[in-house]
Symmetry: D2
Subunit: 347 residues, 4 copies
């Protein structure tokens, strides 16, 4: 592994530290996904405890890891920190060949005030990350302004182009209220953005990877807290893919809440979405009727329920509920994928 | 283990199934905590897949397990299901000696519509559980009324007497929107109630313990989903205690978000709470001054930050931040515990 | 779940307790694998702590669970306990329809002296289990005879028909020496039997599932000890299969150390085994030559190494080492599977 | 983190790569334990896949990590590789201040042929490690000589001064037979050395940390294999200690199988060991009598059993079996610890 420290902005003391792994002895791994780490520190400092210790598990998973020490103190007046972020990603993309980086698989992770910056990257940046991981983040304007008066409210910026987010925090955090996380999840839900979230019961603010190496007192944290590390990496595999035997594999799941955001129609679209497409209906009409009837009979449900169901339920899920054979499901998907998704709203 | 099925209400077909473990060969375990399981089924049925499979892990952890098959269909008009719950708990308390149940350690778990009922138990019941575990719960009035027109909105019922809650669900649930969970957490936060929450990225509604034994298709769920089982049991140990060598041990953590709800003052009270008690201030004044100064200098923080900090931060956390030796912390706690908590609002 | 207690031998006080799960609400799960539990107790008793607490996790995984309280005390003179085992299995097979048991998927688990009995079942019984799980087992004759003078040495009985074994124990067990486990593994290895083994560093004898519900003191055990429970169930899935969407799925892996014990030749046979079959050689000659050369060049290895390699290495592994495409591997397997395995020695 | 590459032997191309973490921002962590990594490669090469990917999890746990690329090919004639090891440790000790290394907490880990070298370090080196972790190691002379004709047999070298060992491998390893591991455990047992061992059912040789980042095919490995990483680190905490709030904490457990190897007598000594010390007997006589009687009655055991028991059972375990209160146990330990252990044989 090589270590390199690049000065991005000498005046504001902004640096990018690159930990990059070689690919020489590897048969198939020629390029790697990358993670950009934004340590916390109340926009007054960048904490070492949320830098290297966070890089190691991602390096172990095969990532290239980068630590951005962004503008703090008087230099953290907005939009300096976000500009630092964009500059860091730009640098990573420009040197992607040399650093063996998959430029379409760059993820950002931030903690506390760094979590605020990561959430801004997810919603307002020029170079959007594939996904964002936010640890006990500062989100709301009134909380952000405590640390940096000019820092923006993130809630207001969440829209349909926000990237998927993994958010973790502790309920008893007594520095940054858990309200920040809850209201952020609410905004993601309202905008149909995919997320995963873990709010652990007990533990104070600023626990980083929550092991003895970052000097947290294990007596003050419930045992689940350190799980976010492995869980976040598994989640990234789920939505971004993983190293395979010959190539970087496709992910198991969409980075969306359903198939409505794909380029073509598919069986992971919601029923309501497919219903309003006449071409899709030609294919689906007989099957949907069958499913509807079975469901109605089975659950003795009323019209209101059926409308609710159609709005949210995907075709795949309905077919699974009525025990449709897997090969029929596959066939249907292939047929649907020939129809362009005209209403697609992807960023 | 013995199995017993009690008919609680013959007309409405309400039954309580008791799985109770003996205590004969055990040296210290004479009584056990209990879990009351409320299966889901849209208030139209009580699903077997959310009954026995849920009982087993709790039996393994040493609990006595009870399954309530509550009023469904036309019988589920409100408040029948909640009455069933109260009747079940009453029965468990009355037969506690015979069933070796610790009557102050009864927990409720519910799924989907059963999660709605469990949330009602946590907020509106006569016999409150020690804690409630809610799986992909129906919470909001508009959602509840789809399944049972008369079912109440839970959000409105959350208050300072609501018990601690463990809530899990999947983001992509397309039957009961994740909104239900998010808005419930928001209500818990507003009322200072302790909780833990896990929202897993991918997976459909109704997964129960999410293993192959309940016929879920593992391809449709991200791997973290089954973690709720072990995590919920660990959480219960954290806040309710565990079997020890000679007795049932005290929990590691309060079932509250801080010490403000204890009978006496203590170092887990918030700074603001202690500040407004003149007796406490006599003890704390010199120490708090020291902490304040260190914090101010360290983080170069302003007045607004300090006020925010004092409102949320506990004395223990502040003392930990300023590296106060553990024996001094212990001494302080003992001194504070001599002062009654006059403003205590515990239910 | 139903509980039933059958008296297998009134005089010797031998009973079989059956915990059987219904299959009514299930779409595909009509029959289930079964586990027969043999508690320990030095052939003087059958401990309750190694009975119900062991049944629960297997019930949770979808098994039917049976507890055999075999002959103890003066009645444990050999071969009484082994006869009890055979009678129990016979009973389970006879009532398989009623109890929804897959008769070819019956597993035995035993602890301490019950582990001795389970090892006897694996090596000497009339009705062999599919697999055996042995917890801190008594194995060697000199150890077994401490508890029951007439109890046989298991080492001597291990042969090529012994079933796959999962063996766990603690290094510091000061009642049954870890020698028993090590020498058993050695015998399994000598007879080419598949096994998995976990020897945890610290912990006393008799820990059962090693959680607080069986009154073990967690301070005396290293944290890995309870892992045997989940690990053993995962291992059973690996070699015996699992519930799928429509049927009980085939296992991921053979219950053998390679493919030499299958009815037909296949790519999981060892190179040496295939080399000595003229029909196989017609198919493999060109490919093997290629692999050999690559390996020789790559590792600069000598003749002795190559001979060693061929004896142990499977064709699949060699093809993987030389990066053979997966479709070619699949084709080869299909071709080989047309050739009967004339030397097959399966029990 | 800093990276430094030191040439230990230019002629033989031996290098030591040091990944060292700073201690600046840390309040209490001033020095760190260290791990020395010995990659595998049949004494023909040092594989990159068993180098950096192994360093990362130990760095994450707070260790300083060092990779030794030892003599290979013609240079691997004995004792060159072992000399390289000793030179590496010497270098780490000499620069311990600069590298923030706790010189009495240096651990070695090796894979395959590197596992052979690590086992030699554990048994034959000048600078013994605190503990050794061996992955699918080459151990026996006949196996070692395949790779390097002059490489010694490790079995013969195991004695009472061998350090504690953590050994993992797969049953179906078809390059280095599992015999190597089993016979090594047997030798450790014979010499009363502490160990932990995990032999996973299915998987080929050379899997390193067994995740997608080292290009192993997950389909060929059972899911437990990657557990060795976390398990080995937990084991090291158990026997070597961990970072605490103010200092490096004492371990939970001895690095021995009982207390007989401590400088003073203690309650973790075996009964037989204490019985043969007249000073200890003055303290213990009344208590031991009580325990003996209870045990005899309880289990209806004979003389042979009691003698066996006394030889292996520790005083602590016996006191726990007879439910002795914890404060009495503590008192006894204090009393015993005043008596020097005259027969102590520690290396």
């Amino acid at each position: 592994m090589k270590v390199e420290k690049i000065v991005l902005n000498e005046k504001r003391n902004v640096t990018l530290t690159a930990y990059t792994q070689s690919t020489e002895e590897f048969r198939h791994i020629k390029k790697r996904p990358a993670i950009l780490i934004l340590p916390g520190g109340g926009y007054q400092m960048c904490s070492d405890k949320e830098a290297d210790p966070v890089a190691f598990p991602y390096l172990q998973a095969g990532y290239q890891a980068f630590i951005l020490r962004y503008s703090v103190g008087v230099d953290s007046v907005w939009p300096n920190p976000l500009d630092d972020y964009d500059q860091a990603i730009k640098c990573m993309k420009e040197r992607a060949e040399e650093w063996h980086v998959l430029t379409d698989k760059i993820v950002v992770i931030g903690f506390s005030a760094g979590g605020h910056l990561a959430a801004c990257a997810a919603t307002m940046s020029k170079y959007r990350p594939y996904a964002a991981i936010l640890g006990y983040p500062v989100i709301e304007g009134d909380c952000a302004s405590i640390y940096q008066k000019t820092a923006p409210d993130v809630i207001a910026a969440v829209d349909e182009n926000t990237c998927p987010c993994f958010v973790f925090a502790t309920r008893t955090d007594n520095v940054v209220s858990i309200k920040n996380t809850i209201h952020f999840l609410d905004a993601l839900e309202k905008n149909d953005i995919l997320f995963e979230s873990h709010i652990y019961s007990h533990g104070a603010h600023g626990f980083s990877i929550c092991n003895s190496s970052v000097e947290v007192d294990p007596e003050e944290f419930c045992n689940r807290v350190p799980h976010w590390v492995a869980d976040s990496m598994e989640w990234l595999k789920d939505i971004m893919g993983d190293f395979g035997n010959n190539e970087f594999l496709n992910p198991r799941f969409f980075p969306y809440i359903n198939g409505n955001k794909e380029d073509v129609l598919n069986i992971d679209c919601t029923l309501a979405y497919l219903f309003s497409d006449s071409e899709a209906m030609k294919i689906l009409d007989p099957i949907l009727k069958q499913g509807e009837n079975q469901q109605k009979q089975a659950a003795n449900v009323d019209e209101k329920f059926m409308l609710q169901t159609m709005k949210l339920m995907t075709l795949r899920h309905m077919l699974s509920v009525i025990s449709m054979p897997k090969n029929v499901i596959k066939q249907l998907d292939e047929q649907l994928r020939k129809i362009p998704n005209k209403r697609m709203k992807k960023g």
